[in-house]
């Protein structure tokens, strides 16, 4: 372990030059990026094991866990994947977007270490608290909705985890400060800018988390007598949804990074891509309102305004990225002379056998078509009534966080293995197909969840829906879809395990490579002519995005049709 983290040769100032990206990387930056990323992969393993129990309980033909065990496994699943896998990776991304891309040393590496330790201890506390939950406490799931009590140790763990993340983020903020002090007239690179926007969104979410969990902890240990359910929901979703917006912004930042280094993408419009990030900064947090659309006490006009991110400000941002990233690939590859012929020559000629590239692009496609569209649709005030707390909701966020962010972070690990860990990929044929295998299996499982939720009204967070005591009513009609879901989930688990096998196998048995440029294609320095990138055709991208819009419109209309058939409400 120590060998993995400390490998590499550095000059007298502690820097080395990366042969793939051309970036100057400082020793401390590299070590902490590796440490946070490796810890994230461990969380992925724990979360993946819990996924077996969650998926195979919901597929009641197997019915693996009894209700108390199911709720614990579901909580472990949520916290390790939605929080620990994501957040440890995101701290690594901040260090990549900040000091690594800017070629700076890591300021105050001690803070990074303290932040890391605090996060690690807190993550262990939270897992322990969940595993040992006993009455009168309930397993917290992700949301720990007051006034249903969770174990006191759980709330304390969450508070410590939040503090740990804030401390771990400080070296990033100091880096940006130092960079701007040194070069006041230089604009941050787009990847650093994206990481900076991510960090601000993160800080807002984390402060919201402290506002939520400190009073809730005090209530749980009896210092505060009463906790209001509506207050909790308003406050909790600042971090509950905000943390998912961190995933979004971090993921998009990684998209710009990886499509560039392995696909030869360029930034087609700095102006628009940065404007899109700024739109996120102003509007994305309003998305927390998505969780309150079926709530009492909140007026319809409040719901409309907030759920739409003030008339779709953040959706506009996502639509801009949805064009800018493939367009960057199209124009960048055309410029470099790859597949200049036809509408999609740039795409056919892309390095589809490289898992860094395929996982990134599959992440982009699956996020947009499944996670993105379902999110906007279920986030319409009235449509939400038909989605709220059905299995369609986990369907949606498996489309965003799993098919989008997890695939993207897997790509980042595939990239880091040769480039930062200096290890050639082990089990190469498996690594080549893993992103496709995972995307298809997980995609199918996700679509089944959405169908089960929206077309059968199957509730989420239920260990059994095939029978209810004292009534003949059940969701047995949905059994065929559950069967497809179950099989797809098992395949997705195998695909997820394949990723871990490649990652861990490469670290332990991968051939040591001192020059990763030999195994990663060098694309960033190409470019046969000097025409500005915005002058190349982006017609292929426009075609693809118009197909996306057509699918979006059809799904939108179908959902309103389904709502319109219901009885009169309101």
């Amino acid at each position: 372990m120590a060998g993995l983290l400390l490998s590499g040769t550095y000059d007298a100032e502690g820097f080395r030059t990366c042969s793939v990206t051309g970036l100057r990387i400082h020793r401390d930056v590299e070590r902490y990026v590796k440490l946070f990323a490796l810890t994230a992969v461990v969380a992925l393993l724990i979360g993946g094991i819990s996924a077996i129990f969650v998926a195979l309980t919901r597929w009641e033909v197997i019915g693996l866990a009894d209700p108390p065990a199911f709720y614990k496994w579901l909580s472990i699943h949520a916290w390790n994947l939605l929080i620990f896998w994501m957040v440890f990776m995101e701290v690594a991304i901040l260090y990549i977007g900040g000091p690594l891309v800017l070629g700076r040393p890591l300021p105050t590496p001690k803070l990074a270490g303290i932040g890391y330790l605090l996060m690690l201890v807190a993550a262990l506390m939270i897992n322990h608290a969940i595993a040992t939950t006993e009455a009168p406490d309930s397993a917290p799931l992700l949301t720990s909705y007051a006034p249903l009590p969770s174990p006191p140790l759980f709330y304390l763990g969450v508070i410590l985890f939040i503090l740990g993340v804030i401390i771990a983020a400080l070296p990033f903020f100091i880096t940006i400060w130092q960079e701007k002090q040194e070069y006041p007239h230089r604009t941050l690179p787009l990847v650093s800018f994206g990481a900076f926007i991510t960090s601000i969104i993160a800080l807002e979410a984390l402060l919201g988390g402290l506002i939520t969990y400190i009073p809730t902890f005090l209530w749980r240990i009896g210092v505060v007598e009463h906790i209001d359910a509506a207050w909790y929901r308003q406050m909790y979703w600042i971090i509950g949804h905000g943390s998912q917006q961190i995933n979004l912004a971090a993921m998009i930042t990684v998209w710009y990074f990886l499509t560039h280094v392995v696909g030869g993408a360029e930034v087609v419009s700095e102006k628009l891509s940065r404007t899109a990030f700024i739109l996120y900064l102003f509007f994305i947090n309003m998305g927390a309102a998505h969780h309150l659309l079926a709530d009492p006490g909140v007026h319809m006009s409040w719901k409309h305004w907030n759920t739409s991110y003030a008339v779709y400000g953040a959706v506009l941002a996502s639509m801009i990225h949805a064009f800018a990233i493939p367009a960057g690939l199209e124009a960048g590859r055309r410029k470099r002379g790859f597949g200049r012929q036809g509408l999609f020559g740039w795409l056919w000629s892309a390095p589809w056998g490289n898992p860094v590239f395929s996982a990134t692009v599959l992440g982009i496609i699956m996020f947009g078509f499944i996670g993105g569209i379902s999110g906007v649709v279920m986030g319409q005030t009235q449509l939400n009534l038909t989605w709220h707390n059905t299995l369609g909701v986990p369907g949606h966020f498996h489309g965003t966080v799993v098919l989008g962010t997890t695939l993207t972070f897997m790509a980042l690990v595939y990239f880091a293995l040769p480039v930062l860990f200096n290890r050639d990929l082990a089990f190469k044929p498996l690594a080549r197909i893993q992103p496709y295998f995972y995307a298809v299996a997980m995609g199918l499982a996700t679509i089944m969840m959405i169908y089960l939720g929206v077309l059968y009204g199957v509730p989420r967070r239920h260990p059994s829906v095939m029978s209810f005591p004292g009534t003949d009513f059940s969701f047995a009609a949905a059994s065929p879809l559950f069967a497809i879901f179950g099989v797809a989930a098992i395949l997705a688990l195998i695909a997820g395990a394949s990723f871990l096998l490649v990652a861990v196998g490469s670290l332990l048995f991968g051939k040591r490579i001192d020059n990763p440029a030999l195994v990663m294609p060098l694309l960033i320095s190409g470019g046969s002519d000097d025409q500005p990138v915005h002058t190349y055709s982006m017609q292929g991208t426009l075609t693809l995005t118009l197909i996306f819009l057509a699918v979006f419109a059809v799904i939108y209309i179908v959902n309103w049709y389904l709502l319109g058939r219901l009885w009169a409400i309101g």
Partner: protein
């Protein structure tokens, strides 16, 4: 070279944008306006809007209201037949107080919704069409009054879809809608 890894110098804001990208941005702006316009419009011309006042109320006070309502209603073997337009329902671990209830098709009722203990979900669908499902979040301390009119007679099943404890999965209730 326009790299996302290199700092920018000079006036990069002035670099023109490609025609294709501009087209897409304008399409996106219009699409956002359509999404917003339709959603807000549905509040005026649509029949399904979760619109209704909310009142603060202590669970004990709501229990008293529900008891008075039950007193005024006709109690049958199948369930409560409300005397007027008001229908009182409260979720609790692990059941629904006030259900089963017998309603008339085509008549508009005011549903008063709350919870006695923790957060719950009121997820309703007719027996014959599982896809016709809606959910309302029920919070202790808040009474939400939403008008509803069921046009199709039949049995409507209610389950809780907010995790409320170990017995969560057993919660079930019924609306009977008669001609």
């Amino acid at each position: 070279m326009s790299s996302p890894l290199k700092p920018l110098e000079g006036n990069w804001w002035a670099i023109p944008t490609s025609r294709h990208e501009k087209i897409w941005v304008w399409i996106s702006v219009v699409w956002g306006l359509i999404l917003f316009g339709w959603m807000v419009g549905w509040s005026f011309f649509g029949a399904q809007n979760q619109h209704g006042p909310t009142y603060r109320i202590e669970p004990a006070a709501y229990r008293a209201k529900l008891a008075a309502y039950r007193e005024a209603s006709t109690v049958t073997e199948q369930g409560l037949r409300p005397a007027g337009e008001d229908v009182y329902i409260a979720a609790m671990r692990y059941g629904f107080d006030g259900l089963p209830v017998i309603l008339k098709a085509g008549k508009t009722y005011r549903l008063h919704l709350t919870s006695y203990d923790v957060q719950h979900g009121l997820s309703i669908r007719p027996e014959h069409a599982l896809s016709k499902q809606v959910t309302f979040q029920l919070l202790p301390g808040y009474e939400w009054v939403i008008p509803m009119r069921f046009d199709e007679p039949g049995v409507y099943h209610v389950v809780c879809n907010e995790f409320c404890g170990i017995g969560h999965r057993t919660m079930h209730g019924i609306f009977i809608v008669e001609e």
